[in-house]
């Protein structure tokens, strides 16, 4: 493997400097592995199947570090499949199979010696539907630290996570009540707090606002923007306004006739929405299909 195009663009344009990454694979650049890598995930020729049905084809793409990257595309184009590959969540689906490589800070997530459980401790995930455990608010947030053998001040950690998720003021007097007793928007922020409590480095969010009303959505979006300073965030969204509001970069996936998701365009969100390079992107963002 000599050189990989970092960003697949049918138009063949030069990617913007800020996401232009070294063309050589990570392991050939040991000196830069920690210092200069400014991508959190690097996806190389990823294809994925459920049983015999292919869901993704030959995706090559980098997710920048400490930025919000949105994945957009019509329903069924493989957005969830892609984001779930990043923390090997698809391992839980028996029929699932993938080819290609995914590097997380330069390390192959499926390589020998890598462990899905350890990987997921570094990568938080927030799901489409709020899914708090039927446990108290405190126990929900403390779950991750507990299974990870956290030995410090659990109370302080829980409080910190709830504060970062902008939920602390609403729940500080009722930490013992069930997480299921909260409103949908609060539940989703609880799930974000729960993910933050394991002190991850990246946060994957699969349509985190699709079950919420506009005000709850607004609060979560605010939260995402504020979290992007410390975390690398990948967010799947159906909502293009949302992508343009919260993300720095946007990935557009599309599945054609055969219903196999492919990467159409990746770029800084502003560029992708104002001057899309691919006409299919333009059609999609102007609402002509999808």
């Amino acid at each position: 493997m000599v050189s990989d195009p970092v960003i697949v663009r049918p138009g063949g344009h030069t990617p913007p400097v800020s996401i232009r990454l070294q063309d050589r694979p990570a392991e050939e650049r040991p000196a830069e592995r920690t210092a200069a890598l400014d991508q959190v995930f690097r996806i190389e020729h990823l294809s994925a199947w459920y049983g015999t049905a292919q869901a993704l084809r030959d995706i090559t793409l980098d997710f920048p570090r400490n930025r919000v990257t949105a994945i957009i595309g019509p329903s069924g184009c493989g957005k969830s499949t892609l984001i779930r590959c990043l923390n090997r969540m698809n391992d839980l689906i028996p029929s699932f199979r993938q080819e290609g490589r995914i590097l997380y800070h330069g390390d192959d997530v499926c390589g020998p010696g890598s462990d899905a459980v350890a990987l997921r401790r570094h990568i938080g995930m927030v799901f489409q539907k709020p899914n708090p455990f039927p446990k108290s608010i405190f126990d929900n947030v403390a779950f991750g630290p507990r299974v990870n053998g956290y030995s410090g001040d659990l109370k302080a950690l829980v409080e910190g996570a709830l504060r970062r998720a902008a939920l602390w003021d609403e729940v500080k007097d009722k930490l013992g009540t069930s997480g299921l007793a909260l409103s949908g928007g609060q539940q989703q922020r609880l799930c974000i707090a729960r993910a933050l409590a394991v002190e991850p480095d990246a946060l994957l969010m699969d349509e985190p606002c699709s079950a919420l009303d506009p005000i709850a959505t607004y609060r979560i979006e605010e939260l995402i923007t504020s979290l992007a300073v410390d975390y690398s965030i990948v967010i799947v969204t159906h909502n293009m306004q949302q992508a343009s509001r919260v993300s720095d970069y946007t990935t557009f996936l599309l599945s054609g006739e055969e219903r196999i998701g492919e990467l159409v365009e990746f770029g800084p969100t502003r560029d992708l929405f104002t001057t899309p390079k691919d006409e299919r992107t333009e059609s999609y963002i102007t609402g002509r299909f999808g």
């Binding site: 899914n131 455990f133 039927p134 779950f143 507990r146 299974v147 990870n148 799930c191 993910a195 394991v198």
Partner: protein, 317 residues
């Protein structure tokens, strides 16, 4: 739809076309069928009511001669010999001893099987193992009794605990535990299968291992169903007759020593009903008093387990 377009049974207005006579006949048939169904339902209701009434009546007769106090606090059960004693505690004790041993066997085993089936086994393993559980549940209880008497006691218990009686509560409890095992396993597995996949994914996403997901998320979320399975198993163990009558013996003593022969409430009822105790005698009426006690115990257990089942249904629907 009209009659001319190929549906002769109906006219344009949708009314049956056979005229009022046919309509009347149909209504009569409908009513007859409804009546039949009602009668069938009635049989089960009436049977229940009848049994309960007989129990209540005969129990009442019994307690005209024996005081409630003696019955529920006496520690000697000897209604058939003089001096007669009517303390039911030895029978209750024997029953609870066997049921407790059964639960100690069935609870951990059943839960492990349920966790394995719900969280670890693949589709193929699951469809292989489940029929075995069903077969186990379908084995006649008398077979379990002889299994306890002729295999468990001489080959497993007596070598380990010398001096164990041929009839003993331990062997009865163990086989009753095996009998209720499928119940614990399948009800618990159902409860765990009802836990939404989203919760498992959330836990995996936080870096929990498979075992942690099972023990810290799935089991607690399914807890009321699991507890319901334990209580139902307990209720079944308390009501079990054949195996305990064969393997447990017929010595009503108040003991917690499982190597001793005991007698359970059901065992006693079976013994008296099959024996030559004259009906209408006080001795015979004891079986109704004992039966009533048993009935109330299992009824309470079933109601409690229903409460748990309802609770876990409410959580996810």
């Amino acid at each position: 739809m009209t009659a001319s377009t190929g549906n002769p049974a109906r006219t344009r207005t949708g009314r049956p076309s056979g005229g009022p006579a046919l309509a009347r006949r149909r209504r009569a048939t409908e009513r007859a069928i409804a009546g039949l169904l009602l009668a069938a339902t009635g049989v089960s209701v009436l049977t229940t009511v009848g049994i309960v009434l007989v129990l209540v009546f005969e129990t009442f007769e019994f307690f005209r001669e024996v005081s409630l106090w003696e019955f529920f606090t006496g520690t000697v059960w000897a209604p058939l010999f003089s001096p007669r004693h009517f303390g039911v505690l030895p029978l209750v004790g024997g029953t609870l001893l066997v049921a407790a041993i059964a639960i100690i066997v069935a609870m951990p085993l059943g839960l492990i099987i349920a966790i394995y089936l719900a969280e670890y086994a693949g589709q193929r393993t699951r469809s292989t193992v489940k029929p075995f559980l069903e077969i186990l549940a379908g084995i006649p209880t008398v077979v379990f009794g002889f299994f306890a008497l002729t295999f468990v006691t001489p080959n497993l218990i007596q070598p380990l605990i010398p001096g164990t009686n041929v009839f003993n509560a331990l062997s009865a409890g163990i086989v009753v535990g095996l009998m209720v095992l499928p119940m614990v396993a399948t009800i618990s597995e159902d409860a765990m299968a009802a836990v939404p996949r989203a919760l498992r994914e959330a836990a995996h996403g936080l870096g929990a291992t498979k075992l942690e997901v099972a023990l810290r998320v799935v089991v607690p979320a399914a807890l009321s169903g699991i507890i319901a399975s334990f209580i139902l198993a307990m209720s079944r163990a308390v009501g079990e007759t054949m195996a305990v009558a064969i393997a447990g013996g017929s010595t009503p003593v108040l003991t917690i020593d499982p190597t001793q022969s005991i007698q359970t409430m059901t065992g006693y009822i079976a013994q008296v009903s099959l024996g030559d105790t004259p009906q209408n005698s006080l001795e015979f009426k004891t079986i109704f008093a004992v039966g009533m006690t048993l009935f109330v115990m299992t009824l309470v257990l079933n109601i409690v387990s229903q409460m748990f089942v309802r609770r876990y249904r409410n959580v996810y629907q």
